[in-house]
């Protein structure tokens, strides 16, 4: 018995030694496999032509991981677009819990072969600031959140009002238009604001400004849900809005939005959300989009052009990051409305229209800018 045990332990120890020894020799092989990996991700097959000056970056996805048909998949789509269009390479990690963020960031930073390391949500900001301070020569990219005080972090965020402005315009038109089957006679809309924070308020301001820009007399009901994860409160608030005459209610509230969609279905009215995965064909009027793909693409372009810098860049309608989407919507939007939306889009893109970022500033802005007022 004893002998057997000894033999087993000895065997295991040798196994460990062999394995670790191999690990030591193959310090470079990790990188090779990584290259193979991005090669397999690289549908365009442009890996080889790039040579030494190809941009290569690493992405750390959210805990939800790939296949969530939501944010993580959208970011990955952006990465693949960058591979196809710009010939860059990328590696990625899917953390299983939040303590992995720091470990993975350090891992990539230690590799030292990446032009930038990308984090994609505010959950990772803590880990990012901790690691960025330790690796001053490594570039980091922070998508969809803003970090200040570092000279090695480039932040890319979407313009909050611009994400919701065009949906607001569409809603402002649809509420008074008989061609929309679920519209009622009241000139009333609703917006369930996620939280009383600058970000959330700026998004709401975009919607309000949009609706009043085209329809200055519209009444817009607003309330705060108080969180991104509270569908039941959201449903109550939205139901009240519908009962008070709103025929379209929009929201910017993450998972809470499910409650608004639920209310819309029960009340048989229109709803506008921010996620394509939530679209309800019969009740969605449109979706207020933030195309994170374009931000990933823009970051790769900045690295290739050498315009990368430690600053916060805001992307909006002009860059194709903010827009309204009709994907999955069954209601047919008349062509004249789409033309009108395109005109307004052009005004914003060329910088003629600059949107307000606070709810209190909306009325003054409308009085000054709206052609209808």
């Amino acid at each position: 018995m004893k002998k057997k045990l000894f033999a087993l332990v000895a065997m295991l120890l040798t196994l460990c030694m062999v394995l670790t020894a191999c690990g030591g020799n193959n310090a470079g092989s990790g990188n090779n496999t990584a290259a193979d990996n991005s090669g397999s991700n690289n549908a365009g097959g442009t890996t080889d032509e790039g040579g030494a000056d190809t941009v290569r970056f690493a992405v750390i996805f959210g805990v939800g991981g790939l296949g969530d048909q939501g944010y993580n998949d959208e970011v990955n789509e952006g990465c693949q677009m960058a591979v196809e269009q710009l010939g860059v390479e990328y590696d990625y990690s899917e953390p299983t819990d939040i303590s992995d963020f720091e470990t993975m960031l350090r891992g990539y930073a230690d590799d030292g072969i990446y032009d930038t390391i990308m984090v994609i949500s505010s959950e990772m900001v803590d880990a990012l600031t901790m690691v960025a301070a330790d690796y001053p020569d490594q570039k980091f990219t922070c998508i969809d959140s803003s970090v200040e005080g570092f000279d090695n972090i480039h932040c890319l965020t979407a313009s909050h009002p611009e994400q919701h402005f065009l949906s607001g315009v569409l809603a402002g038109l649809a509420t008074q238009d008989d061609r929309f089957a679920l519209s009622n006679a009241d000139n009333t809309l609703g917006f369930c604001i996620a939280m009383d924070t600058p970000t959330s308020n700026a998004q709401a301001a975009g919607f309000l400004a949009g609706a009043k820009y085209i329809n200055p007399d519209v009444e817009i009901l607003t309330s705060y849900i108080g969180g991104y994860n509270d569908p039941s409160t959201a449903k109550e608030l939205a139901t009240t809005m519908y009962e008070r005459g709103a025929d379209i209610v929009s929201t910017n509230s993450g998972s809470s939005a499910l409650g608004v969609f639920n209310a819309a279905e029960e009340q048989d009215k229109y709803v506008i959300g921010t996620s394509l995965a939530m679209v309800d064909g019969d009740h969605s009027l449109c979706t207020s989009m933030k195309y994170v793909q374009q931000m990933v693409l823009a970051e790769c372009q900045a690295l290739l052009d050498g315009t990368w810098g430690a600053r916060t860049d805001v992307y909006g309608i002009k860059d194709g990051v903010c827009d309204y989407s009709l994907e999955g919507v069954n209601t047919e939007i008349p062509q004249d409305i789409i033309d009108q939306l395109d005109e307004i889009k052009a005004l914003i893109s060329e910088g003629t229209l600059v949107l307000p970022t606070e709810i209190d500033a909306v009325d003054a802005w409308v009085a000054e800018n709206s052609p209808a007022a």
Binding site: L5, L19, T33, D97, S99, E102, S122
Partner: protein, 368 residues
């Protein structure tokens, strides 16, 4: 007589170690076969998994830091199991412990680190211990089943701490459910800079040794063991079983709470909603792998830590699906949970040898 029991004990321990080691080897082999079937090179994969997690300083530190929370939750399950109580509530106790430590760490100011850190740890242990003590009290008083109670309490505690982190205690301006950052004086010392390996590991190891000594060398430990082996005998011997249940379960909860503190004070520097990757339930398999010995948990949690660290490296550097590492992990646990399977594997060579001998005997018989 004494010698005999010692021998039996030793034999049992040996058997347990042998089972765990064999389970490991068999699952690695099976994992290799699976990898090969799916078209990945098993050798390369194992090099990727174990090469960095055992072969580099940072990788080794990663293995240890991944093992740390499991060390605590594994110990929590193991110690409760000694009185034959099943603590499925380590997850909830971990969350309240993490919250308590994060709050004391953030809102108590002006203390030197030497005082602040132990204070946070104490808060975490108290929080976890109270929650578990409540369960044991209900079991003693009303005969409530501790498995159901702890499982249900898990939901309540996790949601309650989530509420706190999203509501009244939410950090200003944060988009995620998290509390304020803890003071620098409450942060656990990192044993190796730029890794998540903190003194929490040493606290855990010390605790394991202490628990083992308490179990083996003290009257209270003896009471725990006897109550666990045979309740009637314990009662006859005049042991207050209810008191033993209460204390043991409270200790179990306190240990799980400390695991939460290790995460709040050493890794995340605050309480973050949903921070645990099921460490509480992971502790169950870690304890089983260690045959419910607190000191054994040090080894078994290290083993799982190595696999988890390997998973992170594999995730970052290769295109092998991370799930493979989970598969190996689960295989180990299945084999440990089914000791008969392994024992029959151990007996297999003997059986074969036996048959071979029989056959030889027959041959000889035929020849003569």
């Amino acid at each position: 007589m004494k010698e005999k029991t010692m021998n039996i004990k030793r034999h049992n321990a040996k058997q347990a170690i042998l089972t765990s080691v064999l389970a490991m080897v068999v699952s690695l082999v099976l994992g290799a076969i699976l990898l090969a079937i799916c078209g990945y090179s098993p050798i390369e994969s194992y090099i990727a998994i174990f090469g960095s997690s055992l072969g580099t300083v940072k990788g080794f530190a990663l293995s240890l830091s991944q093992a740390t929370p499991l060390l605590f939750t594994g110990m929590a399950f193991a110690i409760a199991y000694r009185v034959r109580m099943i603590n499925t509530g380590a997850e909830g106790q971990l969350y309240v412990g993490a919250m308590a430590a994060a709050l004391v760490g953030a809102y108590v100011t002006g203390l030197p680190s030497v005082v602040h850190v132990p204070l946070c740890l104490l808060a975490a242990a108290l929080a976890g211990g109270l929650v578990a003590g409540l369960v044991a009290f209900l079991k003693n008083r009303f005969g409530a089943n501790e498995i159901i109670l702890t499982l249900m309490l898990n939901e309540i505690l996790i949601l309650f701490t989530s509420y706190l982190a999203n509501g009244p205690l939410k950090a200003e301006g944060s988009g995620v459910g998290q509390t304020n950052r803890i003071q620098e004086s409450a942060q656990l010392f990192r044993l190796i800079p730029q890794t998540q390996l903190t003194i929490a590991l040493l606290v855990g190891i010390a605790l394991a040794v202490i628990l083992q000594l308490v179990l083996n060398r003290t009257a209270f430990g003896y009471e725990i063991q006897i109550t666990g082996y045979n309740l009637l005998a314990a009662r006859t011997a005049g042991i207050n079983a209810k008191r033993t249940y209460l204390l043991t379960f409270a200790i179990s909860g306190a240990v799980a709470g400390l695991g939460g503190a290790a995460m709040s004070l050493g890794v995340n520097y605050r309480f973050v909603e949903g921070f645990s990757a099921s460490y509480g339930f992971g502790g169950i398999s870690v304890a089983a792998l260690a045959a419910y010995s607190p000191v054994g948990v040090i080894l078994s949690s290290f083993l799982i830590g190595v696999l988890k660290a390997g998973a992170i490296t594999v995730n970052r550097t290769t295109d092998i699906p991370v799930e493979f590492v989970s598969v190996i992990q689960v295989l180990v646990i299945i084999f440990v949970a089914a000791p008969t399977l392994i024992r029959s594997l151990i007996a297999l060579p003997k059986k074969l040898a036996g048959r071979g001998k029989q056959a030889e005997v027959k041959k000889e018989g035929a020849n003569s």
